[in-house]
Symmetry: C2
Subunit: 356 residues, 2 copies
């Protein structure tokens, strides 16, 4: 057990000046040594060891504020994310933080809750701090964001977004959505199931949603199925909102066939509605984007999923940033996703009884 904490003694953290005084060298020498530049300046091994020892003894850590203020480059890396409530962004953020720290940068995370105004505020903040790079994940207003960067020295890397002339990294949302839709169609066919397939979740201005809708539509049309705007059910990304939307839709469409579910949050909204109408929910075929890897195994629903590789996506984005200037016109990278198949195709006995 630690002792009750002492009240106000507060020794200040070790500083360069402190180490300089204690060792008898100048600030310059200490700073040089501590920054690993001793050899560039032919600083004696003895001097170096003395300073290093003292620094270790005092547990010296540079004051980032002073360092960044002075050196001009802020050492700040920013990550803008719409939320941290789901696996995809949580993992993105965790990887971001680890990579930033490993390169000696300060990781700043700004959560914008799918709000374009908050997004603009986030970017302005990062710019005002002279951030070295901002990773913009899944923005609502990608183009507006890009214009904010104009004239600044701050780099920008987009994740799950497409912006003309910028560096972008993402899952191939169009292709993945098409694959997922195909899986739904095929699953319905094998099951002898008919009925409309709808696209559920997301807001009209949300770029990634738009790409997925195009993939959804392409698959439908390839299969000779019609697509109309009415098949798209918009909904804000919250369980409550998704629940309301799916409820309204299903009560108006008594015999649905399948659903393209645009987020794990939307799936939770559906699950909540399942309490009210198990039969209908259970009869449908689902395809979920950002599925939890093992979710499909747990459930007795007919459910497929796209599992994005968020760690790889972030690593790729970071690489693109850290390997110097981007090529003129930007560069776009797609990171492969993984399809998660419904458990029927895996080694598990089919019983699929309603729990009712």
């Amino acid at each position: 057990m630690p002792k009750r904490k002492a009240k106000r003694p507060g020794p200040k953290p070790a500083s360069i000046r402190g180490i300089a005084q204690l060792t008898g060298f100048s600030n310059t020498t200490v700073s040089l040594v501590l920054n690993g530049r001793s050899s560039d300046f032919n600083i004696t091994k003895e001097t170096r060891d003395l300073i290093l020892a003292k620094a270790k003894e005092l547990n010296y850590q540079p004051n980032i504020h002073a360092r960044n203020l002075r050196s001009g480059h802020s050492n700040i890396l920013g990550l803008m994310v719409p939320t941290l409530h789901n696996r995809f962004f949580g993992e993105l953020a965790e990887t971001f933080e680890a990579l930033a720290r490993a390169s000696g940068k300060l990781a700043l995370i700004h959560v914008t809750r799918y709000d374009p105004a908050e997004e603009a505020a986030a970017i302005r903040f990062f710019l005002s701090q002279n951030a070295e790079c901002v990773f913009v994940a899944n923005p609502m207003a990608a183009d507006e964001i890009a214009t904010l960067f104009e004239g600044s020295h701050t780099r920008q890397v987009y994740i799950d977004a497409t912006v003309e002339g910028q560096t972008t990294v993402s899952t191939d949302n169009f292709a993945a959505a098409r694959e997922l839709t195909r899986a739904i169609i095929e699953s319905m066919a094998m099951d002898g199931r008919s009925g409309e397939i709808c696209f559920f979740g997301g807001m009209p201005d949300h770029q990634v949603t738009g790409q997925r809708i195009r993939g959804f539509r392409a698959a439908l049309e390839e299969a000779g199925l019609a697509f109309s705007e009415e098949q798209v059910i918009w909904s804000h990304f919250s369980i409550e909102a998704c629940y309301e939307s799916v409820r309204t839709y299903l009560q108006a469409h008594p015999a649905p066939g399948g659903m393209f579910v645009n987020s794990i949050i939307a799936m939770e909204g559906i699950t909540r509605y399942l309490l009210e109408d198990y039969e209908t929910c259970h009869s449908m075929h689902y395809g979920v984007f950002d599925i939890l890897p093992y979710l499909s195994l747990l459930t007795d629903l007919k459910i497929f999923g796209v599992d994005q590789d968020s760690q790889k996506i972030m690593e790729t984005a970071f690489d693109l940033y850290s390997t110097g200037e981007p090529p003129e016109g930007g560069i776009s990278v797609h990171v492969p996703h993984r399809m998660v198949l419904a458990k029927k195709t895996a080694a598990r006995p089919v019983d699929g009884k309603a729990a009712s």
Copy 2:
């Protein structure tokens, strides 16, 4: 579409000095106005409006490095979390960031991956930056961490941890674990199911796990059931590790009864094993800590859960920090959790007590 970005023009962000020159006032006056202290210094409305207008025009944002360096108090708030891969910590982090920003503080998040060495590094970093407060969530080595703070001015608030003499906020892990275990026992009884109940997931030194094991044990003993160390299956918090552990256990224990699952990650490990032995997995009764709110509804497993209110926990922790000095000896707050019942026993999640 934004224009291709300009290459190196880089106008520097607006500064106090810039505004001073442009408006003809001194740095002092500008600084005072911008910090909302005009009235304390009887600064003319005209002066104030002029400066404010110019600041807005230039989209002035204070340089945090300069401000914090000068003003001594760093304005930094730290959050130490073991991971961001799950809902509980993701939501914690999101709420933390929002609260910090709303109070004009700089939110710094440090992910430690359940590694005591990383935890110490995180705390040392925060201390070296003179952070105003560090929120320590679910540490492996709470006591060691507390000693690191000794003699510093940095406040500390523990989340999901108990430290002698410190301010702590958490779910009542003991009580919740006991309730959850009771639910498992009762569910098994109603089902006429016998067999050992084991505790699955977590590492020996993990404090919160220890508290939950005590609750688990209490419930067993209250029900006249034996408890022995062999019923505890340790496992690192990763899907892979949990899969391996559960596999080893179940192959050695052919007729298990129930499982206290110590994290959603552990549950995913089990789900993965379900592919190999559906019968066994399906026959057991589960209780999961940190369940996804609607997970139990999706599955055909017999599964109960504890749903922690991470947002409320973080808000409470933040309040405790922001309302000044903590009382001598610290203060401990428990935030109520919610029991999620298996769908067989209830039509929906119910607040309060376990199944009756």
